[in-house]
Symmetry: C2
Subunit: 196 residues, 2 copies
DNA sequence: GTCTATATTGCGATAGAC
DNA sequence: GTCTATCGCAATATAGAC
């Protein structure tokens, strides 16, 4: 059964803007193009957004909130440190691939935000990285992982997922599940966690 | 002894433009700003560049050529596959950190190029990735490495170096050499190469 | 090579009618 | 909420004097 869900204008605008920002970049995208893609004229946009920059901030803040929620959910079970880390990595990688466009914007367009708006996004990002770092350190303390430097391990995991967001497209050489499986293995190898 | 080397206007313009493109993005940087940073007025720029886009292409093409040259040089010695891979990784990581700004531009501003200019850069990038891939496969054939998927290993190495280019600044928590050493170790762990 | 001046275009944002 | 019209500004690129 197909449900027809009415999306609010604000939702449509955010989705179309994200698509355009991904394809052409924030600065290279005009609000006239966003309006056209949303079935509106440029003047009407301002009934739904405060400014072009605020629109970008909503997109970037939203994706970080969703990412954080997705990982928190994934690790919310009883299990040892490695089991939870493995679950976090899988969710982390899957999220970055599935929502590649918004993730890419979140990384490429940080410079396009004013300093205060950028600080909001960076704070969310830092919170997320600490969550991963805790899992790594926990695995290290339990002697389940050989931690070289927790912070750099986090960076490595973030780097891999971010990179995937730049090239992943459904229907490629590998399925999403295969990619997630392989990258999770590589990540755990970096920690010298014995393969299952 | 300090040598005063006269740089050509074209060189100054490229260097200043790279700095500005890194800080603010290509689209957000005006040629007036590039001119001012180069000690010129905007009209005079056109005695040295064809167009703003061509200036970007020169920067992006140049960094790829330099990267390729640097890695070719690093692996040009007699040694087994792992020794050469290790040398390639160290050069790869060091280059990305030392020339972080241009590397960052090379990744963030691909979208800002026209399709034909983009193809030029992508071809160079592909050639570079094949070079790394060959080293990995060679190590695998020699049973010196446990290769999961050569292409994804390359992506993983590229991802790590690219990510470093986004945050590395001299004078941070770790020296460049320490960072290179750790990341090289992590990379070789992904291939299950025994640590030296 | 440098400069000033300008042509042309498109931008974000707003005003005000409906 | 939608629209049309427009303001004020800044962009790339060019022309032509020196």
């Amino acid at each position: 059964m197909t449900e027809l869900v009415e999306r609010s204008s604000a939702e449509v605008i955010r989705a179309e803007a994200a698509k355009l920002f991904f394809e052409r970049g924030y600065d290279a995208t005009s609000l006239r193009q966003v309006a056209a893609a949303s079935g509106l004229r440029v003047g009407s946009l301002y009934n739904h957004i405060d400014s072009k920059e605020h629109l970008l901030l909503q997109i970037m803040g939203g994706i970080m909130d969703d990412l954080m929620g997705s990982i928190r959910l994934a690790i919310d079970f009883d299990g040892d440190a490695v089991a939870r880390l493995r679950a976090a990595l899988a969710a982390h990688l899957k999220f970055h691939a599935e929502r590649a466009q918004e993730v890419f914007i979140g990384n490429a367009e940080l410079r396009s935000l004013s300093e205060q708006a950028r600080d909001v996004v960076i704070a969310k990002r830092h919170e997320y990285e600490l969550l991963l770092q805790d899992l790594i350190e926990e695995a290290g303390r339990a002697s389940l992982a050989d931690v070289v430097d927790a912070r750099l391990h986090v960076y490595s995991f973030v780097a891999q997922a971010t990179h995937i967001a730049g090239w992943f497209k459904p229907g490629g050489r590998m399925s999403l599940d295969e990619i997630v499986e392989i990258y999770t293995r590589l990540a755990l190898r970096e920690l010298k966690v014995p393969e299952a």
